[in-house]
């Protein structure tokens, strides 16, 4: 049989690849595009370690076929920091010691960004439910929830600054 030829964008860059029809987006990212940030913790959508966005929608890349992303826009943890500057979520995860082993961290960051994109000032409960699809076995989630809360505040400040700038 022949592979499927797919043209898409990953973190804004145009990308083309050929993959077997049954291959998941996760395997494409990791094994064909060398983007190892997304991790396979379960392969069945139960741990969230492989979280990415497809057309700005949060998904488990282990439950998406590579063939499905033809013409879509894929976002991964590698695209979170822009020209060397960490996203506030990334900085707050470090500052709040919100990671230990770190295997779940890329998934949490992608999921947390998806949350803040829709809900800039989530309550603790909203954060906890929004991140319920991401398993962490090291932290007990405490410091992760705090980090997301602090990042939301940072983003709000940034938004204020930029809107002031515009006003001037």
């Amino acid at each position: 049989m022949s592979g499927v030829h797919v043209s898409t964008t990953v973190n804004g860059d145009a990308v083309e690849f050929v993959c077997p029809p049954g291959e998941t987006l996760l395997d494409v990212l990791r094994n064909r595009l060398g983007l190892i940030g997304a991790k396979e913790g379960c392969g069945t959508g139960d741990c969230g370690a492989c979280s990415v966005t497809v057309d700005d929608q949060l998904v488990c890349s282990c439950l998406v076929l590579g063939a499905e992303v033809e013409g879509r826009a894929v976002g991964t943890v590698e695209g979170l920091s822009t020209n060397g500057e960490l996203h506030p979520l990334q900085q707050q995860f470090i500052d709040n010691a919100a990671l230990q082993c770190g295997i779940c961290t890329p998934g949490f960051l992608v999921a947390a960004k998806a949350l803040l994109d829709h809900n800039p000032s989530p309550s603790e409960e909203e954060i906890r439910y929004a991140l319920a699809g991401n398993l962490c076995r090291c932290t007990g989630y405490d410091k992760i929830v705090r980090a997301v809360g602090s990042a939301a505040k940072d983003l709000a400040k940034e938004a204020k600054k930029s809107s002031k700038k515009k006003a001037k």
């Binding site: 940030g37 913790g41 139960d46 470090i94 230990q100 295997i103 954060i127 090291c138 989630y141």
Partner: protein, 752 residues
Amino acid sequence: MAEAFDTSYTDQEFKVIGSRERRPDGLDKVTGRARYGADATAPGQLVGLILRSPHAHAKIKKIDTSKAEKLPGVKAVLTSADLPDLTNGNRGNFDILENCMARDRALYDGHAVAAVAAIDMETAKQALKLIKVTYKKLPHVTDVDEAMKDGAPIVHPHIKAADDQSKSTNLVNASTFGHGDTEAGFEQADFIVEESFKTEQTHQGYIEPHACLATVGADGQGELWVTTQGHFTFRSVCADLLGMDIAKLKVTSSEIGGGFGGKTHVWIEPVALALSRKTNLPVKMTMTRDEVFRATGPTASTSMDIKIGATKDGRITAATAHIRYQDGAFPGIWGMLGAMTAFACYDLENVQAVGYDVLVNRPKVAAYRAPSAPMAAFGVESCMDLMAEKVGMTPVDFRLKNAAKEGTKASYGPTYGPIGIGATLEAVKNHPHMRARLGKNQGRGMACGFWFNFGGQTCVDLNISTDGTVNLTVGTVDVGGARASMGMIAAEELGIPYEDIKVTVGDTNSLGHNDTTEGSRGTFSSGMATIFAARNAVEELRARAAQTWDIPLEDVGWEDGQAMPLGVKHNNLHPLSLKEIAKASPRTGGPIAGHNEVVADGAGVSFASHICDVEVDPETGSTKILRYTVVQDAGKAINPDYVEGQMQGAAAQGIGWALNEEYIYGADGRLENPGFLDYRIPVCSDLPMIDTQILEIPNPNHPYGIRGVGETSIVPPLAAIASAVSNAVGVRMTHTPMSPPRILKAVNEAKT
């Protein structure tokens, strides 16, 4: 040599220790750059897969690999025949070998029976389907109590009963600890509490499946990239099993995606190396989650009987425990650890704990964070609450009255030095959490926990660059932020900024042997070695300054990262900073380094006390954790952020164990829930914030007073939550997990 240094505690002033420095591995981990077990690839690598037994217990009559070998793209097929027994009588190693690849019998659902290496995943998967294994099903047993009955299916016929060498048994060991006369003790008691408990089997549940990349050349030399808690131990075990020279197998520990004890044991690694040796090509193996649950890790399920006697005024006169640990298909020391830890929190005149190790047709039990202690504590601490009620004291006061202290003869034998159990109980007693009001269907529980700390073989290297920045290479795998702590310790000793130190976990070619990161030993042991290596380097720095100034060494002191000329006769000399000395080093004798090998013995013991509030829905049996507080003695918290992280993570694992996590086996002896959907570890919305309070009762046998902190806080949660639930619903829960069906059943039975 270690002897050259004094390991005893000195109450020194700290500049760096105790601050919340950022972890050096943080950036890689938030950007997706960090490389874990499955993140390494090699040119021309093969995919290795393992065929696993679908039967709980079966004779392997025949394995026909011919079809698989003929499949294009298959480079090697392996069975136990390719892993000959080279263990010459070392039963422990033979058990590991047999667990890695079944020999004449499959001993549990998921036991490896064959393996393949092929050019890609699809081909490897197809090859597995083409391997024909002829099994003869044998009777199986998966329950610990069933396995002890006469006539139970026997897991290992070669294991004979202690009292009758003609009789095979599943009871491999009975370990007794204690002292005094418990019979007499119970006679002095005004009250007796006697209760039986059960705990189901749980898994460490690390999010990263086991993975490795093995390369063995035609010259028999090999490399192994692997996610492990102990790459030096993996190296010697794999070399032993495969007949390789230890020095010719280089093992590199990847970033580790969680271990909790489950990555102190080899599983797929010897198989990957054997496949690579067969093909002389790199072989990558990554377990699926299903394989992780069916074939690695789990901790023991248990069944136990606890008895405590006390006088009216609340003094315990005697205590006994009989705890049966289910070891899976191979003998372990889990019963012994349970018997040692069961009553370790208390000062008892008459105490006896017996731990039994029992074999069943389940995966080989592995260490899981304070292995064996949580189950024992579940039974003992639950009975402590029952007795407190009988004698009319609060659970905290009753425990305080009987708590072990310095000079107490521990229930496992030795006499305690300074310990923290009393202090954690006082802290709990005075904690606002204990005074918070409870509502309808809500209950509060508290419990204590004990765990050992280990020391062991440790070795670090410290090299100073000519610009004054420092490379610190340690050999203990960083599972919880140890690289930050080691950097802080080196910065403290050298008197330079934390930022100037780069900490690396060295591969097995770069350092002498380091014991596995287990038993909460990482920060204690490598911390000790780092202190000594740094002081060793300071000696050299002083010598270089003495040489530069041309004054005697004893006239050179070291303060705040500078060599100081001592005495008025040298007051014309200006201090020399580490940077200045390092810059001049090429012309003062070459590179400046510090080094230390130590057997970091004399590790302390560790105690924690937890408080938990729950609300139980009486109509569904569903439990919500409302509030949770952890109090633990850390000896000295090098970096409080990461100490809190250990305490919170351990508590969360205990909460999952207490409420929902369990291995569910069918009548056919197969595991029914080998996935994260039905093996229910706590999700973010299941938990509240977990408050922590760190106490610092210095360990007298460590220069900084460090105690291990990683494990202890998984010990109290089962009992703390059981008491909270029991207080909420008015029925004593004696079986974990306290899943909704179990709670509802108990509530209904109490009604009738």
